[in-house]
Amino acid sequence: MSDLVIEARKVTKTLGRGAREVQALRGIDLSLKRGELTLLMGPSGSGKTTLLLILGCMLTPSSGTLTVCGTSTSNADREELAKIRRDHVGFVFQSFHLFPTLSAAQNVRLALDIRHERGRKARKKAREALERVGLAQKVKMRPGELSGGEQQRVAIARAIVANPSVVLADEPTSALDGDNGRMILRILADAAHDDGKAVLVVTHDPRIVAFADRVINIEDGLLVERPSEQGELVRLPKAVGFGSVAAARTD
């Protein structure tokens, strides 16, 4: 199994038309590997979200190629792109986007349900995913009964429950306080390091750089990658597993 999960080559994206035309991405080359947590940082309007949407197969590049787990997205229609997302990608959204009428467990099960994984096995998987993010006691609670940090942990459980190869997280800590933000990043780092997923986190938050294996800056639609040996980019020790998250929450 190749370590390369996502490979973008010379990706450009033009948004708008005519006078409103904007070159959002201008030839991006990016690879995401298993077991690596990558931070994508950059100022507003730099192209972060556009790149995330392309890597998440929600937008198609104007030019260049994108390969997700060996599957090229070139010429894929909307349903095919949805299938690639379903098969390989887990998402964590800034605003959580949980279903308010469903319990935490049901929210997590949705990710399995859309993949036709149902029944007792799916329930067990969902419960285990919630246990891993430290929410074993809150499986029946609805999002409205959970704190922001807990909601984001449910969202992460939903993103990882189907064991995708890549997790894309959009500003996952921006709506959270420092402690909750760190806990979320710890969980995402564990997903990368313990489960061997490629995790890409789009963020403005400089406090979470410490969790990253590498940091990529994007400016004016172009990538600027900082090497990890600069000291502040420290890979988390393998010992920090999901079990420690529950402990951290308790602390």
């Binding site: 379903r86 986007h97 279903f99 009428t101 859309i114 149902r118 959009d170």
Partner: protein, 377 residues
């Protein structure tokens, strides 16, 4: 319960006000259609009430006669020709027609006279609750329905009135023989029917034919046709259909009922479509999230269709309960609403179809939703 069904039901019950509005729309629509179609069926049964209660096999009627109430006459000589045909057991003349009923108080009211030979039993009053039908052959005797007591100024057996200047006496009472024209039926002996309607003694409105047990119906019908010239020979079922068709479609009554039913379907569809669309719009973010997570379009359609079906099931159940009450309430009325098992099944299918069609707007709205929007919020 599947997660899609759970999600659909939670989406619906989450906004109880909208759910109530949707259900009111569905119930209103289904009850309206149910009543219109129930009236249609009730009317259809009522207009053939007399035909349904004949005990003979064939009708010989004047050419192009439209319905039972048609006053056209045929020559009674045909009776002798028909009786001579192999396979014929009896031929019974039937005389019908409008006449005037004059109460003892002098008040007049129109009545519809029905007269046949009572001994042959081709068309006798049914549901007799008091008196003796055989007594109709004695003097100027009549049988009336007790529903029309007030209209006819009758208090019971022995009451008297005048028809065409003849003093008549009520000797039998029936229950539930109501006329869709609101003109009371008055059952009399054949001879008296001629007197009360002014029908000549060599004429009759129809001839009721009873076949021998071993007769071949089709061959006998053809044989009768060969002997009756311009008159038509119909089975009871054919005459029933012709009568029903005339009253329902020839007069426009059926079209009016159908138009009402159609209106109900349109109103119901629009209401359900509107509320479902608005519900979907409110949950658009969730559908976009599902799409972003990689769900197939079919998965999302299923949630919306389930919402529509839940609406349909609850709405139809409520409408059925109301329908049952309405049927009960109209059972004794001039025009009872009739809901047959087939109508019930058809209405349930119509409700489901109406709700599912209503979901199309919502589905189109979801189709236009870009999953990328979840990253913008």
């Amino acid at each position: 319960m599947s997660l899609t069904l759970t999600l659909a039901s939670r989406n619906l019950f989450h906004d109880s006000l909208r759910l109530v509005a949707t259900l009111v729309g569905i119930v209103f629509s289904v009850v309206l259609v149910m009543i219109q179609m129930g009236l249609f069926l009730g009317f259809g049964h009522m207009v053939t009430n007399m035909i349904d209660h004949t005990s003979t096999d064939l009708w010989v009627v004047p050419k192009k006669v439209k319905c039972f109430e048609d006053p056209s006459l045929i020559d009674l000589k045909l009776r002798n020709r028909i009786v001579a045909i192999d396979g014929i057991a009896t031929v019974i003349p039937l005389v019908i027609g409008f006449s005037d009923w004059r109460q003892d108080s002098g008040e007049m009211t129109p009545v519809f006279i029905v007269g046949a030979d009572l001994h042959d039993g081709a068309l006798r009053p049914w549901n007799v609750v008091d008196g003796d039908v055989q007594a109709l052959s004695q003097g100027y005797s009549v049988a009336v329905d007790r529903t029309y007591f007030d209209r006819l100024g009758v208090t019971g057996i022995g009451s008297t009135a005048e028809i065409r200047g003849r003093k008549v006496k009520v000797v039998a009472l029936t229950d539930g023989i109501r006329s869709f024209t609101t003109t009371p039926y008055v059952f009399v002996d054949l001879k008296n029917a001629r007197t009360f309607t002014g029908t000549p003694s060599d004429r009759a409105n129809d001839l009721l034919v009873r076949l021998s047990p071993d007769a071949d119906r089709d061959k006998t019908m053809q044989a009768i046709r060969d002997h009756v010239g311009d008159a038509e020979v119909l089975t009871t079922a054919e005459f029933r259909d012709r009568s029903r068709s005339f009253w329902l479609f020839g007069t426009g009554a059926g079209a009016a009922l159908f138009a009402g039913a159609l209106l109900g379907v349109i109103v119901g569809t629009v209401i359900v479509a509107q509320t479902l669309y608005s519900s979907t719009k409110d949950h658009l973010n969730e559908f976009a999230t599902l799409r972003a997570m990689g769900s197939a379009n079919g998965y999302i359609y299923r949630v919306i269709i389930y919402q529509a079906l839940i609406n349909a099931v609850i709405g139809f159940t409520l409408a059925s309960a109301i329908g049952a009450v309405v049927v009960q309430m109209t059972a004794k009325s001039a025009l009872p609403i009739v809901i047959t098992p087939w109508l019930f099944v058809a209405l349930s299918l119509l409700t489901v179809a109406m709700c599912v069609i209503s979901a199309i707007g919502a589905i189109v709205r979801v189709l236009r939703t870009d999953p990328a929007t979840v990253f913008m919020r």
